[in-house]
Structures are given as structure tokens and as C-alpha cells.
């Protein structure tokens, strides 16, 4: 059943956000601390557990991957609802602070990534594929025995 996958995803989402809120209260922060990241970890663990027991059927997987595939459209909708006007009209402080910090980050990302590439911590570059590849279709041909 496809809904099992979507329900599992929803349960992981809610549990993760709740834990993130809990951490925020514990350390006295007014924003959710990593709730989405924790939800992702829950989903990874749950999926791994179900796969090992053969309970993660292809239909269940589809209930998760459909939403993963919707990710880019959602991001496009998000882009269309940004406050671009305030960004364009903001004064030099906002513009320079943003551009400067982004530039500094790019340089450090480049530096770190070159280091981990040399040190062989990074995996090989991903081979090119199409944007629309459905990972659920992989599950049917290659059973996961990890």
C-alpha cells in the first residue's frame, strides 16, 4: 500500500520536528534545532530496518519516493514565494554582508572539498543521470541486502 510509505514518512517528519523542538527547549533556543535532519535520520533507520525484514515493499517505497520526486517542484514554488523585492531593494549593508559572507563560504567550501578529495575522504564524483530518475524503480531490480 502506497499510503504506508507516506504515513511512515509523515510519522518520521512529526517525530523529528518534535525532537528538534524538545532539544530547542532543553538548550533554551527559540528555533527548532535540526528537526528536519533528525526526521531524515529516523526515516533512514526505519527504512533500513523494514528493508532488512523484507517489509519495505515496492508500493511502500513509492509512497516515500513520490514526495522525494516532488522536491524540486516544491523548491520552485518556494522560489516563487520569496520576498525578492526586499532583497533587490535592500541597501548596501544587506547586499555587501550577504555577498561577502557567501563569497567567504564558497572559498572555504572549495578549500575543504579539495582537501577531502586529495585525502580520499570524498567519494568519486557521481555519474550524470537524468533529473527524473525514480529511485523506487531501483528497489525492484536490485534488492537491498545491506
Amino acid at each position: 500500500m502506497v499510503i504506508y510509505g507516506t504515513a511512515l514518512l509523515a510519522a518520521c517528519y512529526l517525530a523529528g520536528i518534535a525532537v528538534g523542538e524538545g532539544i530547542a527547549v532543553l538548550i533554551g533556543v527559540k528555533a527548532n534545532v535540526g528537526g528536519v535532519g533528525i526526521a531524515m535520520l529516523f526515516l533512514i533507520v526505519a527504512q533500513h530496518y523494514l528493508q532488512k525484514r523484507g517489509l519495505f515493499h515496492i508500493d511502500t517505497a513509492k509512497g516515500v519516493t513520490f514526495w522525494a520526486m516532488l522536491y524540486i517542484p516544491v523548491v520552485v514554488a518556494m522560489a516563487a514565494t520569496q520576498n525578492v523585492i526586499v532583497a533587490v531593494r535592500s541597501g548596501p549593508i544587506a547586499l555587501l554582508a550577504a555577498a561577502g559572507s557567501f563569497a567567504a563560504c564558497i572559498v572555504f567550501i572549495s578549500l575543504l572539498n579539495r582537501i577531502i578529495e586529495r585525502a580520499h575522504i570524498a567519494s568519486a564524483a557521481l555519474a550524470p543521470t537524468s533529473d527524473d530518475h525514480d529511485p523506487a524503480s531501483d528497489l525492484s531490480v536490485v534488492p537491498d541486502h545491506r
Binding site: G34, A77, A80, A104
Partner: protein
């Protein structure tokens, strides 16, 4: 005919948003394929188109939610809101290879620390260069350079005025949009082609919206790795902003 169509659209805002975004992505893919011969990813063009549409919406209505402020496109606010964004990000975790993510956990943390401190220093420096000397103002603008959520939360916690908080939000929004647009441009320079690099990127570039859109436009398989780290960014910034970072600024300029 027209009022009939309008009534239908008003009664189904989310469905309208699905159809509309689908059309935007289809046009973007056609442009990418025929105009740039696939050199620029269709999703990169689609994100840019989204931002351009947001500008149009904002210019027409004078409000803050881009195209979603036009009642015809109200559904975009739900489709592109935090709930759907986070729900679909969590779903991408189903594509994570655990071994790849484990390899770079410590790297993600290092990137997170750098991604919080570097923008803050730059933000404080710029504010200082423009003549601000008040530690509260400096800290709030610096925090805005981390993300547009860290800025106002830090500002509110240390008692910044509302115009300073607005400035810090603007700083964060500009940064998020820059990350969306320029990530695919600088992807090669940043060596952004493997899961570990995406985790470093997620920690350093920060803002979930910027990272998620930037990676989507670069290679969607990298999204979950970047997002996994980036989602800790705002919480981490909100933890450090009003505490250690504010105290450091106060010690330096106070």
C-alpha cells in the same frame, strides 16, 4: 467563461499551484534542452524563473510573499511553504546511502561551525564599515548574515530595534537568494560533485532554502546530504548568536 474559470481556480489553490509549477518546469526544461543544449540544468532555470515570478508578484502587490500574494497563485504559498519543503526534504532521505553520510559526519560539523562564524564576522565587519558601533546592532546584522531566521531571533533576544531586525532579515534573504542562483554557477569551483562535498556545502552555505534550491539546481542526488547538515544550521546559529557571538562582539566593541 472567465468568471467560471476564476471560481474554479479560487476553490482549488493547491491544485492550481501543481499545474502552474508543472508548466513552469516544463518550459524551463524545454529552454534548457533547446537553448543551452542541456548545459544549464532545467531545474536551475526553473528556480530562477520562480524568483523572477516572485519579483513580479512582489512588484504588483507590494507584499512579501512573491507571486503567492496574487490571489490566483495563493496555492504556491502552501506548496512552497515550510511544511511541504521540509516534508519533501525528509522524503529525499530515502535516497541517502548511509555509508556515504557516515564518512563525513565530522566534516559536516566542522562546516557547520565555519558556516556560522564566517558569515557572522563578515556581517559584523560590513556593519562596522558602515559606521555602526553598537554591539546589539552589529550582532543582529552579523546574525542575519548566518540565516534570515537567526537574525531576527538573535535581534529579539538581545533587544535590537525593529529597523535593525528588518535589515538583518533582508541580509539573510539576499544571502539565501544568492545561494540559490550562484550554487550551480560555482559548483565546479566548489568541487560539488559527491555526497561528502554536498555535506560540507550544506554546513557552510547554511540557509535551508538556499541550500535546497541550490543543490536541486546542481544535482538533485546531492540534496539529501546537503540538507541533512543544513537543517542544523539555523538551530546552531540561534544557539550561538545571542550567547557566545554577542558576548564576543560586546567584548570587542562594547
Amino acid at each position: 467563461m472567465f468568471p467560471l474559470l476564476e471560481k474554479t481556480i479560487h476553490e482549488a489553490p493547491l491544485v492550481t499551484a501543481f499545474a502552474f509549477v508543472g508548466a513552469v518546469i516544463w518550459i524551463s526544461n524545454q529552454l534548457a534542452h533547446h537553448l543551452t543544449r542541456g548545459r544549464i540544468a532545467g531545474s536551475a532555470i526553473a528556480v530562477l524563473a520562480g524568483l523572477a515570478l516572485a519579483f513580479v508578484g512582489g512588484a504588483l502587490t507590494g507584499k512579501t510573499k512573491g507571486l503567492a500574494d496574487l490571489s490566483l497563485f495563493g496555492g504556491l504559498a502552501l506548496m512552497g511553504g515550510a511544511m511541504m519543503r521540509d516534508f519533501t526534504i525528509v522524503a529525499t532521505a530515502s535516497e541517502v546511502h548511509v555509508d556515504e553520510a557516515k564518512k563525513a559526519g565530522w566534516l559536516g560539523f566542522l562546516a557547520l561551525v565555519l558556516g556560522t562564524i564566517l558569515p557572522f564576522i563578515v556581517g559584523v565587519g560590513v556593519a562596522f564599515a558602515f559606521g555602526h558601533r553598537d554591539p546589539v546592532t552589529l550582532t543582529t546584522i552579523g546574525a542575519g548574515a548566518i540565516t534570515y531566521i537567526v537574525g531576527p531571533i538573535t535581534g529579539a533576544a538581545i533587544g535590537a530595534s525593529s529597523d535593525v531586525i528588518a535589515l538583518s532579515i533582508a541580509t539573510g534573504v539576499v544571502k539565501a537568494i544568492m545561494v540559490m542562483i550562484f550554487t550551480p554557477v560555482f559548483a565546479r569551483f566548489m568541487r560539488l560533485n559527491n555526497p561528502q562535498a554536498a555535506m560540507v556545502f550544506g554546513g557552510l552555505a547554511g540557509t535551508v532554502s538556499g541550500v535546497s534550491a541550490g543543490l536541486a539546481a546542481t544535482d538533485r542526488r546531492l540534496v539529501p546530504y546537503g540538507a541533512l547538515v543544513a537543517t542544523f544550521h539555523t538551530g546552531f546559529g540561534c544557539l550561538l548568536g545571542p550567547s557566545i557571538l554577542f558576548l564576543a562582539v560586546k567584548a570587542l566593541f562594547g
